[in-house]
């Protein structure tokens, strides 16, 4: 393309149940109507034979369509990162590769980029999800709000618009891309949640329990990232200290009983348990010290602050 790309739409194609080629045409129409220089990049994570040949045919006639093929399946985060590496547009749009959100919502997300740095979709449910799915979703977002202090209602929505400065600054390893709105807000970017209409073809019934278990682990890593990366010893020290104290008290009682009340130790698991707690407490404390040492010795490289503008 002759002119600079303003808008890069990235579609990470991961494990699709069925390959939806017509979605590409829909996205293409909507994006073209925006009147910006855009590119529509499909990142194929793993082999998607049918979709690939379909897209190749499309790309032959539509210069905006690009295809990036990963050598094997790496997961959605890698697909997104690869998409980001191969695109240059200042506005990055991530789009779901299956019917999730009405394509017609794209213009509103792009427009909001004038005022915000990150816009995430929030699907208006149409009652397609089961009862338990809705409960799990609510519980998940409630938990996220509880541990991080940021309330979002639909982190799983695949349609997001971001400024390039956001994606440049925030690492997207693992499954953290889901939390990009949250991480961006913590860095001081302006984030907005937009109500979007769920695709009429969406037959998505909430995630399985196993997926939610994986998400719980994500929350754990978010908690560590958000809360304790600056002062690891405060956290580790606290947990370790409590463990150590409980163990010590227990141990003291056991030893006193042995010495003065002649309660035999041999048949008491209490001794082993209490010394185990003491040991664990000390180990946690040592880990906290190691964490603190990492921060201390790298503090000069890790900028704690983010600068918006500098005058002069």
């Amino acid at each position: 393309m002759a002119q600079d790309v303003e808008l890069s739409a990235i579609v990470p194609v991961c494990d699709l149940k069925e390959e939806q080629g017509e979605l590409a045409l829909e996205y293409l129409d909507v994006l073209r109507a925006l009147g910006k220089n855009f590119e529509l990049v499909f990142v194929l994570d793993g082999e998607h034979q049918k979709l690939r040949s379909h897209l190749e045919r499309l790309a032959a006639s539509e210069p905006e369509v690009r295809i990036i093929q990963l050598t094997r399946r790496f997961g959605e985060a890698t697909a997104l990162t690869a998409g980001l590496e191969h695109t240059t547009g200042d506005i990055v749009l991530t789009l779901p590769a299956y019917d999730q959100v009405e394509g017609g919502e794209i213009p509103r997300l792009v427009e909001s980029m004038e005022k915000f740095d990150v816009a995430v979709g929030r699907r208006q449910r149409k009652g397609t999800e089961g009862h338990s799915g809705g409960f799990r979703r609510k519980a998940f977002h409630g938990l996220v709000a509880f541990v991080t202090g940021h309330r979002y209602r639909d982190l799983g929505c695949g349609m997001r618009a971001l400024r390039r400065s956001v994606t440049d600054e925030i690492p997207m390893y693992g499954d953290l891309y889901r939390f990009i709105a949250l991480l961006a807000a913590r860095r001081g970017f302006r984030v907005v949640e937009l109500d979007v209409t769920e695709s009429s073809a969406s037959h998505h019934g909430g995630y399985s329990a196993r997926v939610y278990l994986a998400r719980l682990l994500d929350i754990l890593s978010i908690v560590f990232l958000v809360r304790f990366t600056k002062k690891p010893l405060r956290f580790f020290g606290m947990v370790g200290g409590v463990t150590f104290s409980v163990g010590s008290i227990f141990l003291f009682i056991v030893v006193v009983q042995r010495l003065f009340f002649d309660v035999a130790l041999a048949d008491r698991p209490a001794l082993l348990l209490s010394s185990l707690l003491v040991v664990l407490g000390l180990q946690l404390f040592a880990l906290g010290l190691l964490g603190e040492l990492i921060i201390f010795t790298h503090a000069r490289d890790m900028k704690e602050y983010t600068i918006d503008k500098i005058v002069n």
């Binding site: 082993l272 040592a286 010795t297 503090a299």
Partner: protein, 326 residues
Amino acid sequence: MDLSVVVPLFNEEESVGVLYESVRSVIDDLETEAEMIFIDDGSSDLTYTKASQIAERDRRLRVVKFRRNYGQTPAMAAGIDLAAGAIIVTMDGDLQNDPRDIPEFLEKIDEGFDIVVGWRFNRQDKLVSRKIPSRIANWIIGKVTGVPIKDNGCSLKAYRADVIKHVPLYSDMHRFIPAMASIAGARIAEIKVRHHARKFGESKYGLSRVYKVLLDLLTIKTIATFSARPLKWFAMLSAPFLLLSTVMIVWALTGLITYGDLSLPVAGTAVLLGALGIFLLFSGGLAELISSTGTFEVDRMPLLTAEELALSDRNRPEIDNAVEES
């Protein structure tokens, strides 16, 4: 550039104009090349707009806008990172510090001190909520770090840039800069400064509770002591456990040999303690690795100040490089 004046600002729209004027009048009188760096720490009022309007008229003023509020230490760290001056002066943006004290700080630096700390000897703040907790904190900080400074909380300080630029600054560390810098063998002076009652608004950076300061202090003290030789420190920590474990194992084995009866609790605890000792020892190894890959090496800190005497002022940047490359 000779002098950089770094001022963090948080919701100081009323003060920023007066502040600029008073700092400017001081640096105009100095016969040195100076710059001002105002850091807007994510203010929600017009602080940034007002400051940047002034910056349009005066090229010597740089205004840095944070994307959100990060706190006083990161704001100062940003100013120090961006400062081009050989001497860096930091001060509060709430007009409680008086820029007219700056020349005195510069004199002290010229006398050969690396850090000059202000002492608000007639502090104009509330007694119970601010002055007394601060007294206690200062006394403890002095005892623990061995750097007896009367007023660690005073923001008006002057630093030699090559020293302060190598001191790690994060979280609420600005209070401990003198203590940290003393690891580097920095020569620290303390001078009395004027202190004015607050003219506008409330105190923006609330008083951090003393316990938080103490926790930070403990952390810094520990880290500063062991980060130079972490393996040694961890080894010493693990020694009593390994010793105790050995004694208990010998005891248990003796029992086994003499009476043919192994005392399970003793043997079990011994193994556990031994495991802890070994864990700590290996943690020390890991710490050594972290220390050696970090950019801040406590070992090399003294070089910043130690070699200064042997070299003339013009050569100082070379020391700078030597530390950064290593």
